[in-house]
Each structure stands twice: as structure tokens, then as C-alpha cells.
């Protein structure tokens, strides 16, 4: 399975995905990773795409705003509409909301500070059937306060689009939302970093695997039954 990882200027989590996906999931999902530089003319054909965290364009204007306007994102949107799985983590989530591939917006944390620590997440039971009740996964963001209006929130709830909630809300997110999916279910965005909690020897938690395995399974399903 080929996973494309986007790189914008200052997408500084890019290397983490290039290292982490094959290391932690390479065997089970026979994953190969492909770098996608933002200036490429065509979107390389992949089975799933990752928008990594970081500070694309220095988070200038709004986090994710400038990256989301790059021509390649329009092509990613087409792939999304065709059902290709796409995961945006942290800055990647911000790019997805800025490009309207996911509803809502990500605003500065309620106390105005950048925050980096392990959070307890409550995964959506209907989506993550086998996962434990809470997952220990780190966050690292200054603009992770998920905001949406009441109508969008109702939709998210009714369609079971809320993937992850914080047990203790660190940033003032609406309804403790840490991660959501689009209505189709193939585009995922989240502030916590599952790739950083994928090997127990690093940081003491591998709970991120419950999230990433589910995502990769979705991609694998599509490879088998396109």
C-alpha cells in the first residue's frame, strides 16, 4: 500500500511520518511512503494521503491557511470526493478545515499558549470497535481549539463524525472535540498525534495505533475492493 505524505515549507512533522509509518505499520500493512512536494504539478497516485503536522508557511495568517490554497490541494479534494482516505494531523487538520475538506475551524488555544503533553482521548465506539475506553496520545499545538456552529455540530453528532474527544479538554474545543471525519468518512482530521504514540518505547504509550490501524485498514479495504 502506498501512502503519500505531503510536504509544504515548514511541514516539520514530515520526517516523522516517513520514519514512523514504515517502522510501526510497515509489516502489518505493507506500507511504503512517498514524499509529495507541494510544488509538484500532478498529485501522485497513492492509496491514502497524509497531511502532516508542523508549521506550514510558519502558521502565518492562520494555521494551515496558506498551504490550503496551494493548487495541489484542489487535486487532493478531487481524490477525497472519490473516497480516497486522507488523514490530517495537527497542522494537517488545520489545512483540511481551511480547505473546507472538513467542517469547522481551529482557533488559538483558550489560554493562548502552545501546549505539549499526553492527553487522554475517548475514541468513538462505533468507529474504533476494539480500542480501549481511553487512549493516551500527545498533543503539540497552539491553535487546536476546534470551533463550529450549532448546525455543524448537530451534523457531526448525527453522522457520527466525531472520532475523538478529550477526556480533559486542554484547549477549549467545542464539545471536547479532538478529531473528526467528513460525512463520507474517508477524510480524517485530528489535533493529537497518533504517530507519536505508536511505539511504546518512545514516550510510554502505543495507543495511537488504535487510530492509525483503523485508518490504514480503511485504505487497505479500498485497495482490495476498489
Amino acid at each position: 500500500m502506498r501512502i503519500g505524505v505531503f510536504q509544504f515549507p515548514a511541514s516539520n512533522n514530515f520526517d516523522d511520518w516517513m520514519l514512523g509509518l514504515p517502522r510501526d505499520y510497515g509489516q502489518q500493512f505493507s506500507v511504503t511512503v512517498q514524499k509529495i512536494w507541494h510544488q509538484e504539478a500532478e498529485l501522485p497516485l497513492c492509496d491514502a494521503y497524509i497531511l502532516p503536522g508542523g508549521f506550514s508557511y510558519g502558521d502565518y495568517l492562520r494555521a494551515g491557511a496558506i498551504a490550503s490554497r496551494s493548487p495541489l490541494l484542489l487535486k487532493l479534494k478531487v481524490a477525497a470526493d472519490a473516497g480516497v482516505p486522507i488523514l490530517g494531523v495537527c497542522n494537517g487538520f488545520q489545512v483540511l478545515t481551511e480547505s473546507k475538506m472538513l467542517p469547522g475551524a481551529l482557533l488559538p488555544n483558550a489560554d493562548g499558549e502552545f501546549l505539549c503533553f499526553y492527553t487522554e482521548l475517548i475514541p468513538d465506539k462505533s468507529r474504533f470497535l476494539l480500542a480501549p475506553k481511553t487512549l493516551s496520545v500527545p498533543i503539540a499545538h497552539g491553535m487546536g481549539r476546534y470551533f463550529c456552529d450549532q448546525a455543524v455540530l448537530e451534523n457531526l453528532k448525527n453522522n457520527q463524525q466525531i472520532l475523538l474527544r478529550y477526556k480533559q479538554n486542554p484547549n477549549g474545543s467545542t464539545e471536547d472535540i479532538a478529531g473528526i471525519a467528513n460525512k463520507q468518512g474517508n477524510v480524517w482530521g485530528m489535533m493529537p498525534h497518533p504517530e507519536r504514540a505508536s511505539a511504546r518505547s518512545i514516550g510510554g504509550s502505543s495507543d495511537g495505533q488504535w487510530v492509525l490501524k483503523e485508518f490504514l485498514s480503511m485504505a487497505k479495504q479500498r485497495v482490495i475492493n476498489p
Binding site: 515549507p9 515548514a10 516539520n12 512533522n13 520526517d15 516523522d16 520514519l19 514512523g20 517502522r23 510544488q39 508542523g54 508549521f55 508557511y57 510558519g58 502558521d59 502565518y60 499558549e113 502552545f114 501546549l115 505539549c116 503533553f117 499526553y118 493516551s136 500527545p138 503539540a140 497552539g142 498525534h193 504517530e195 507519536r196 511505539a199 518505547s201 518512545i202 514516550g203 510510554g204 504509550s205
Partner: protein, 760 residues
């Protein structure tokens, strides 16, 4: 994109020299440039004539304390710099030490004290930016940052704001560039009321055959400017860092506002520059590459030309500028605008290099060429602004053997102190508050980016980083990083105190399961023209020399920051030690604390041991308890290096047999506070402790000692001679929170809150 840039060739005939300075105005010019009268005499000899104003600026910067180390050089020569594991020693942008296979790490610590006091946010941010550039311009990818901070008393009106802004500056910069902050230290003392310290350290991964040293060689090669456009930032920053502050804090803020424009960092640009630089070096496109750090274009050009023994011809009309009003040659020479690099490449490689620079959308131009004149020649606006022989400019730099006061005699005396009946709860809360948990600070730094952080700042011990590199033979090998300074001790005895600082750093490395390889140092002291201060400095160098030799961990680079004084008040001597060590198997690394997340492994109860020298030894000086109580003693004993290395080895062999759940050196906190810090992160733990029979309970739990606390399921089978272990009790995860000391119950929650809330 296509090229619009043309080469800069030295003309047959140089333009006429710009106006020379009016030597009748030396009385005002020299003090402004911090050049002493006799230094001007040397300058005159080097030049054979009066300088232009731009040349005076060049000498001022290159001969500043900051760039020339003129007060400290005679002493720094005594430091040990050689060992088998040292690949690059002092004198380069960063030192390099071998880890495993082809994998080495480049590292260095640097101060940004003066700018951070004046403008804490940008001062700290640009400090972090500068040290990262030092590391990556050698071809090393930064994998870990550390920062060591000193502030005035918590109650001092400036402290809160300085702390907030410095931490924001470090976080915003490092987070955006994408380098994890994996550790550091922080403390408060009134000697820093008028001078905070911001010491930043970067560790970068580098291949042993791809260590880059920048040379401006090959006559006719292009000199390229890459990165942010130049503004008026920080002009005379290097000379500012070489002066004391005036009497009142406000005065000096105003004073320097008039003098300079603050440096503002752009971490986004740094990230691009980092990626571009590493790609450039990886593809072997340049001969020379140097960060424009302190004294900007001047020092980078002089350093690269000096290393190659060549000259440079520079046309400053080519320098990209960002100001609305044009800059003068003088300003272009001395601007400390951030995120800029000077490169040298052959005409053949230029098209490929240019394409790469364009890919990363960086500003650039060809600004000059390498010459065989051995002179730095700068033309601007039709005049020859600078024409200085490069060799003599650096070789003739002043070097002082400043007068020193006599070495103070220190007679260590045992101090037996009796406290009568202690209120343990209250005393412990005070101790924990005095050296509080730093979570509020490190939560604002990305600690995990890179997927290499085995132990980060959460454990508040040594950091353990897992390279996971193709270059290592041993795939489990790890880099261990620690930093320490024991300024309570150096204030008493600069030499012995510095030994203890190196040891403290080493013990943290031992406790994590590693062994020390080398150190970088940041020597923060007061005014070197004061013989007492110069004595402190010299003694501190001597102490460091002893400790580094004994531990076989030489000094491979560092930085000296003098003139940290306000009015007549100097900071405590603060020789900050940054240590890099190695662990053979990161999966057996020992944490300095038991965090809740890791608890799944440790459901059963765990025994608590003290491990230390056979003959119990302690001191009150430098213990937090004594500081809180205001107790003064002079019982700092000499160091027994035999014990130190044996104790380190004992921990490792114990850990080999039965993996330790946690291990931490006791040092200034005392044994009880140490144990609490090891469990205080998880509140739901029961701790039952008993004082060892032969030792007075106050002394055992509160005094400073050189032992370790270890959490283990069983005691090591055989300990080496000279080392003993004492069983102290148990820690169990019962889901309740309690602490019993010799049967007496204490309130764990309040202790937890005292420690966690101590920064607020």
C-alpha cells in the same frame, strides 16, 4: 525559474578608499566602538593608516569580548579537549563526538543573556535560532534542544514577565523550526535580578565523513548570500554583549533602545534555511558555508577567508535588504539580521545551487568572489569601504591576562546541625516549592517531534534520544543529554563548585543508564575587569579541567558570556555544563521518574533503595533545605572520582540484572524530596519509608549527598567495593495517595501541589 544573477569579479583597479576617520575625534569614536586606546594602536599597526568608519566597525566587532574571547582565551587553553571519542574539538561552529558506527553528534551551548534581558521574547528566540544554525551549518540535523535559564527571585517585579516571555520565545521558535526541546534546567536567585541567563544547547546528528567546515577557498569562486534580507537588526549586538549594564534596569533598556534595533527571528525562514542547507551540503554544492551570527556579514566572511588563507572581494550593492531606506556599508557589515548564510561555491556548481535555493524560495544573490589578496575588500556606492588584511585582523586580536585576586582559601568543615523536632510536612513543601516542577514551562515546548524522544523533560532527569539512523551499527544505541550548574556551590567555591556541576551532569547521565562522552560549557560570569570575577573564572576553568579529565569527558566547544553585572552586582559564577553521553540500549534506559503512563509495567509494589558510598557523607551547603532555612555552612567536601565512576557502573550492572523502574541522583534536593519527585507525577501512589538505622533522619532525608535513589524489584546481588545500598521502603500503586515516613503520615496531595505549583 531562470537566473538573473551575474558574477562579481574584482576589477583591475579598485575604487578609491572611502573617507578615513578623523583621528582628532577618537575620544568619542573609540568608546562608542568599545575599542581601548592601546587596542587602537594595534589596529593602526595592522592597517598602516587610519581606518574608514566601516573598518573601525569591523575591528570593533571582531575584537569585542564576544567574538575574540580576549579576557578568557588565556584560561580556556587549559581545558582538556582530546579523547578518543572526540571527532571535532573547540574552535569550530560546534564540537562533534562519536556515538556509534558512522553516527556522530555535533553539539554546543551558547548564551543569549544580554539580548534576552532587554527584549526577552525575541532575545531568547534568536538565541535558539543562532545555536541551531551553528549546528546545522556543519551538516548536522538538529535532533534535540536544551535550555538552561536563570532568573531573579520569584518575587522580583521583573521575573514573572521575563520568564513568560523567554519561554514563549524559545517555544515559538523551536516549535516552528521543528526541533524537540527534550530538557533543561531553570532556577531563581537574587543574583540574577538584573541579569537573566538564557543558555541554549542544540544536539545534531551527523555522519562522521560528512562534517562540514566552511572554507572560502578557490580563487574566483562565488560568494553567495542566502536567507532573510538584511535590516538594521542588532547593530553592535556583539559589542553590547561585551558590556555591563548601567545602574538601573530601566536606564539600560532606554540606553540600548536608542542604540540598536532589536533582532527579530523568523522561525519559518529558519526551517527553510535548515532544510535547504542540509540539502546543499548533502549534494556537495558548496565549498564554504557559514551562518551570519554575531557581527553578521563581517564575522562570517572573516572566518571563512581566514580558514582558507584567502581574501574576499565583496560588492555590498548586491546584498538583499528589506529596509525602506538604504543601509550604509557600515550597517550592512554589522547588521545581525537573523536567518542568513554566506556560502562559497565554484562557478560550475552555481547553476545547480541556484536551482536548489530557488526551490526553497529563499532570497539570494552573488555578492562577491574569493581572491588571492588575503584581504577583505568591500566596495559600496563607488568607494572601497573596507580593505583589511584578514590574517592580522584575527591574529592580532587583543588577548589579556587580566589581573586576578588571590585564590580564596576554602577549608571544608563538617557541620553537624540539629533541628530539634521538624514539621516534615511544612519543610518538605518548602523544599519542593523552592525547586519546583517545570511542567508549566516544558509543556510549551514540543518535546516529541522527530519520534526519537525516549525520555524528555517530563522525567526531569537526563534526556534519552534514539537516533534510529542508518549510520549506526547498533540499532538500539541512544544519545543521553543532561545539563547542570550548581551555582549555590560555585558561589562558595568556584573551582570545587564547577567540579560538582560537571558531576551533577554526569550523575544524571549515569542514572539514565548512560556514560558521559563530552561536554559543552557556557561560562556566565560578571565583569572580567574585576580581579575577583577573573579569579572565579580562572578557578572555574580549573575545576572543570579536573572533572572533565577524571571523567574522560572533554570540553568540545562552548561559549563565554562576561559582563553579566548590573551596577556593582554580579551574577553568581554560572558555568553551565551541557553533557552528551551514550547508552548502548535505549530500551533499557532508566527513567528519572515513574510516570503514570508507564505504570502498566509496574503494578506490583516496588522497593526503594539508596545507593552511595560505603562511608556516609553529606553536606549542608548547596542543599535546598539549608537554602530555604538560611543556614550557612562551609562543609563542601572534595570529590572522590573513584566513587563516582564506580557508582555509575554499579547502577548499570544492577539495571542489567533487574531493570530499574527509576533512578535519580540525590544532590541538592535531599533524599526525601528526590523520592517524591520520582513519584509526584502520578498522584495515586503510596510511599512508605523508613530512615536507615545508623544515620540521623534529618541529615539523611534533607542534606545534600552524592548518592542515588533507585526503584527496583530487588537489590543488586553484588555491589562493587566502596558502594553500598540501603533499603528505604516501598512504593505501591494502590490507587490511593499516601506518604508515611517512619510511620508518620504526611499529606501527599499537598506535597504534590507544592511541587507542581511552585512556578506559579
Amino acid at each position: 525559474m531562470t537566473s538573473t544573477k551575474t558574477p562579481v569579479n574584482m576589477p583591475q583597479k579598485l575604487p578609491a578608499l572611502a573617507c578615513l576617520i578623523d583621528e582628532s575625534a577618537l575620544d568619542t569614536l573609540l568608546p562608542k566602538h568599545k575599542i581601548a586606546k592601546d587596542e587602537y594602536g594595534i589596529l593602526r599597526e595592522v592597517m598602516g593608516r587610519a581606518p574608514t568608519i566601516s573598518e573601525l566597525g569591523v575591528f570593533s566587532a571582531m575584537w569585542s569580548e564576544h567574538c575574540s574571547y580576549k579576557s578568557s582565551r588565556v584560561h580556556l587553553g587549559r581545558l582538556p579537549t582530546q579523547a578518543q571519542q572526540v571527532v571535532v574539538g573547540p574552535g569550530e561552529n560546534a564540537g562533534v563526538v562519536h556515538i556509534d558506527g558512522d553516527y556522530c553528534v555535533a553539539f554546543k551551548m551558547e548564551s543569549h543573556n544580554h539580548p534576552s534581558y532587554l527584549e526577552p521574547y525575541h532575545g531568547a528566540a534568536t538565541g535558539v535560532g543562532g545555536i541551531m544554525r551553528d549546528v546545522f551549518c556543519m551538516g548536522a540535523r538538529p535532533i534535540a534542544n536544551f535550555n538552561c535559564l536563570r532568573f531573579g527571585e520569584k518575587t522580583h517585579p521583573k521575573t514573572k514577565n521575563l520568564l513568560e516571555k523567554v519561554v514563549d520565545g524559545i517555544g515559538d521558535y523551536g516549535n516552528c523550526v521543528g526541533v524537540p526541546t527534550v530538557g533543561g534546567n531553570l532556577s531563581f536567585h537574587k543574583s540574577y535580578n538584573g541579569n537573566c541567563l538564557v543558555n541554549a544547547m542544540t544536539v545534531g546528528a551527523i555522519h562522521k565523513d560528512r562534517i562540514f567546515k566552511g572554507f572560502a577557498s578557490g580563487v574566483g569562486n562565488y560568494v553567495i548570500y542566502v536567507g532573510s534580507a538584511t535590516g538594521r537588526d542588532g547593530i553592535h549586538g556583539a559589542t553590547m554583549a561585551s558590556e555591563s549594564f548601567a545602574d538601573s534596569a530601566d536606564d539600560k533598556t532606554k540606553k540600548s533602545e536608542n542604540k540598536t534595533t532589536i533582532q527579530v527571528g523568523d522561525p519559518f525562514m529558519e526551517n527553510i534555511l535548515l532544510e535547504a542547507t542540509l540539502e546543499i551540503l548533502d549534494r556537495n554544492l558548496v565549498i564554504g558555508l557559514q551562518d551570519m551570527g554575531a557581527a553578521g556579514l563581517t564575522s562570517s566572511a572573516v572566518e571563512m577567508a581566514g580558514r582558507a588563507g584567502n581574501g574576499l572581494y565583496l560588492d555590498f550593492t548586491r546584498v538583499p535588504i528589506r529596509t525602506k531606506t538604504p543601509l550604509t556599508a557600515y550597517e550592512l557589515l554589522l547588521s545581525e539580521s537573523q536567518e542568513r548564510m554566506l556560502m562559497v561555491c565554484t562557478p560550475e556548481k552555481w547553476p545547480e545551487l541556484e536551482k536548489l535555493i530557488q526551490k526553497w524560495e529563499l532570497a539570494y544573490d552573488i555578492i562577491g568572489s574569493v581572491t588571492d589578496t588575503a584581504r577583505m575588500q568591500v566596495v559600496f556606492d563607488g568607494a572601497l569601504e573596507v580593505d583589511i588584511p584578514v590574517g592580522p585582523l584575527t591574529d592580532a586580536a587583543p588577548k589579556y591576562e587580566r589581573p586576578m585576586a588571590a585564590s580564596p582559601t576554602y577549608v571544608a568543615q563538617n557541620a553537624q546541625i540539629s533541628f530539634g523536632k521538624l514539621n516534615w510536612q511544612k519543610e518538605l513543601e518548602e523544599v519542593l516549592k523552592a525547586k519546583p516542577c517545570h511542567a508549566d514551562v516544558y509543556h510549551r515546548y514540543d518535546q516529541h517531534i522527530g519520534l526519537r524522544t525516549i525520555f524528555g523533560p517530563e522525567h526531569q532527569g537526563a534526556a534519552v534520544v534514539w537516533p534510529q539512523s542508518d549510520w549506526t551499527k547498533n540499532k538500539d544505541v541512544g544519545v543521553v543529554i543532561s545539563a547542570a550548574c550548581e551555582e549555590d556551590l560555585t558561589a562558595e567555591n568556584a573551582s570545587l563548585g564547577t567540579e560538582h556541576a560537571v558531576l551533577k551532569a554526569a550523575r544524571m547521565v549515569y542514572a539514565a543508564g548512560g556514560r558521559p562522552l563530552a561536554i559543552t560549557d557556557c561560562m556566565n560570569f560578571g565583569n572580567p575587569e574585576d580581579p575577583q570575577i577573573m579569579r572565579q573564572f580562572s578557578d572555574s576553568v580549573d575545576g572543570m579541567t579536573i572533572a572533565c579529565k577524571e571523567l574522560d569527558a572533554p570540553v568540545i566547544g562552548g561559549n563565554v558570556s562576561l559582563y553579566n553585572e548590573t551596577g556593582s552586582t554580579s551574577i553568581h559564577p554560572t558555568p553551565m555544563i551541557g553533557m552528551v553521553g551514550k547508552i548502548e540500549d535505549v530500551h533499557r534506559a532508566i527513567p528519572a521518574a515513574l510516570l503514570g503512563r508507564y505504570k502498566k509495567n509496574t503494578e506490583k509494589s516496588i522497593s526503594v533503595y539508596w545507593l552511595g558510598p560505603d562511608e556516609w557523607d553529606h553536606s549542608w551547603v548547596g542543599s535546598i533545605f539549608a537554602r530555604v532555612k538560611g543556614i550557612k555552612t562551609n562543609d563542601l567536601a572534595a570529590v572522590d572520582y573513584g566513587y563516582e565512576t564506580t557508582a555509575g557502573a554499579a547502577i548499570h550492572s544492577w539495571n542489567e540484572k533487574t531493570p530499574l523502574f527509576a533512578c535519580r541522583d540525590v544532590a541538592s534536593s535531599g533524599a526525601l524530596a528526590t523520592i517524591l519527585k520520582m513519584v509526584a507525577c502520578s498522584q495515586k501512589v503510596a510511599v512508605h519509608l523508613n530512615t536507615p538505622k545508623e544515620i540521623d533522619s534529618h541529615t539523611f532525608w534533607l542534606a545534600r549527598n552524592q548518592g542515588y535513589i533507585a526503584f527496583a524489584s530487588e537489590l543488586a546481588e553484588a555491589l562493587p567495593p566502596g558502594i553500598k545500598a540501603l533499603s528505604l521502603g516501598e512504593v505501591s500503586f494502590t490507587g490511593t495517595s499516601e506518604l508515611r515516613l517512619d510511620g508518620q503520615a504526611l499529606n501527599m496531595l499537598n506535597l504534590h501541589n507544592a511541587w507542581k505549583g511552585g512556578l506559579r
